[in-house]
Every structure is written in C-alpha cells, then in structure tokens.
C-alpha cells in the first residue's frame, strides 16, 4: 500500500490526543458520537525520478484533519492536542507505512470567528506526512 491514509486514521483513532473521538476518512458516519474527526487527503507528492518512477521508498501526503464538537473550545482543544502529537512525529503509523517526518502546514486560528457546520463547531488542521514502507 502506497498511501499512509488508513495507517494515519488508525494512529489518530488510537491516540489519547483525540480524547476518544472517532476518526473517519472522507465523511463521518451518520449519528456518530460527538466530538468526531474527519480526515481528507489533499495531495500527494511521490518524489518520482526519471530512472525509477514507481519508487515509493519516500512519499509525502497532505491531509486536512477537521474536528467537529459541540463548542468551538472543544473542537480547538482536540485539534490543538492532535497538532501537538503530530508535529515532528517520527515512528510507526499503521502496518504498511512508517512516518518519517510530519509537520503542521496550517491550523485554524483563534483570531478567526468560530465556524459552525450543521450546528457543530469545527477546527481545521492541515498536516503533511513524509513516509516510507514499514520494515
């Protein structure tokens, strides 16, 4: 598997930073518990070369991680905790790929007016993960 998407989802789902909020890829299940997290892959960078274009020994993927909660404070609290865990993380991330480096590209800030979707407060986080095949 060339994507770390499922490993990243499992990593977040099991991490204490999410405070038990379930993590979904793409969209949340109907009637899921609140708060919850939805992650979407925004782009991939395969570091292709002319001589070995299929080499997946190092790839980068960028994800948007959106936290939904009843209050803006709760949504940002989880997003901040997730950012704290991910920024500069290196190590296992699922069974197929290993996180070599991770960095936060963007976070929705406190200076922005609280954003609500379907009555729920949301906080966004954009993270890029460089990963290689798990040993």
């Amino acid at each position: 598997m060339r994507s770390i998407k499922t490993g990243f989802r499992a990593f977040l789902d099991a991490n204490a930073a999410t405070a038990g909020a379930p993590v979904f890829i793409g969209r949340a299940e109907q009637n899921c518990p609140i708060p919850f997290i939805v992650m979407q892959r925004l782009r991939t960078e395969p570091y292709d070369t002319l001589d070995a274009p299929g080499d997946d020994s190092l790839r980068a993927e960028t994800f948007r991680v959106t936290t939904y909660a009843h209050t803006d404070q709760a949504a940002h609290g989880i997003a901040d905790a997730v950012a704290e865990v991910l920024d500069d993380y290196e190590g296992a991330m699922g069974s197929h790929r290993r996180c070599e480096a991770a960095w936060i590209e963007d976070e929705s800030g406190d200076y922005e007016p609280p954003e609500y979707v379907d009555g729920l407060a949301v906080a966004d986080l954009v993270v890029t993960i460089q990963h290689s095949p798990a040993a």
Binding site: T49, L50, D51
Partner: protein
C-alpha cells in the same frame, strides 16, 4: 513526428568502464549546443534588424541535473570523488538517453563536474550536478 515522454530518460556516466545510470535523477538539462554568432551590425546599416553572422564555431553550454541525493549511493559518490580527484579522473564519457522507442541518446565527454546538496525543511534531500563538456554533444542525425 512523435511526442516522447520523459519518464525513463537516463543520465549516464562511465563508472568502472561501463555506462552506468546515475540513480534517482529527477531532471536533467543537456545545455544548449549553439553556433557561435557575431553581431556585425554597422553604423551605416539602415535596416532595423541587427545583422548577425556565423563564425563557424560550435559552443556547448554546461549540462545540469537534479538528484534525490543519497549520500550512501556509490554512483552519487562517484561524482564527488571525481571532483575531488582533480583532473585525474577526467575525461569521463557519458550519455543522456531519451525515452523514445529507439531509444535515442546523446553522448558527451565530461571534463569537470559541479556538485552541491540542497537541504530544505519540508522537502527531500536533493543535489544539483553540473557537467562541463570537452566539446559539443553528439545529437541524433
């Protein structure tokens, strides 16, 4: 006429007497093979166009390549080892192979290399290579 993809194009140098692909090359540029021309515009020339002439010489610009640098790669080390050996390693024969059906290639004799690593946060380790040729490249005819 055919439109030719670039994936599968190769930058090769002679290492231990055989042409060897320099691995993890992301892009290369051969540099321009050019006729040397002279500006022969005269003060009394009334035409607005600048008059040029060809003096019969052919010049060759440097080539360059971008590698995803692996400091442990022996063929990346070959380039830096050759530089640090001064003139002892040169000339070194090489070629650029294109990804057409033939495949076509252009060959050269290198008399010097340049090499520098680029390290940037949020990126992958890269190196820039320059190639100074002994003369014009040979192109498919």
């Amino acid at each position: 006429m055919a439109k030719v993809k670039t994936r599968g194009s190769l930058f090769k140098l002679t290492i231990s007497a055989s042409l060897t692909t320099i691995a993890q090359c992301q892009e290369f540029s051969t540099g321009e093979t050019k006729n040397r021309t002279l500006d022969v515009e005269c003060l009394d020339d009334s035409s607005p166009g600048v008059e040029m002439m060809n003096d019969g010489c052919v010049t060759q610009e440097e080539g360059s390549a971008t590698l995803l640098f692996d400091p442990d790669s022996t063929n990346h080390q070959f380039i830096t080892d050759s530089i640090l050996a001064g003139s002892a390693s040169f000339p070194i024969a090489g070629s650029y192979v294109f990804a057409d059906a033939t495949p076509a290639s252009t060959t050269f004799s290198a008399v010097g290399f340049g090499f520098g690593a680029t390290v940037a946060v949020k990126d992958v380790l890269k190196a820039n290579v320059s190639v100074t040729y002994a003369g014009p490249l040979t192109w498919p005819t």
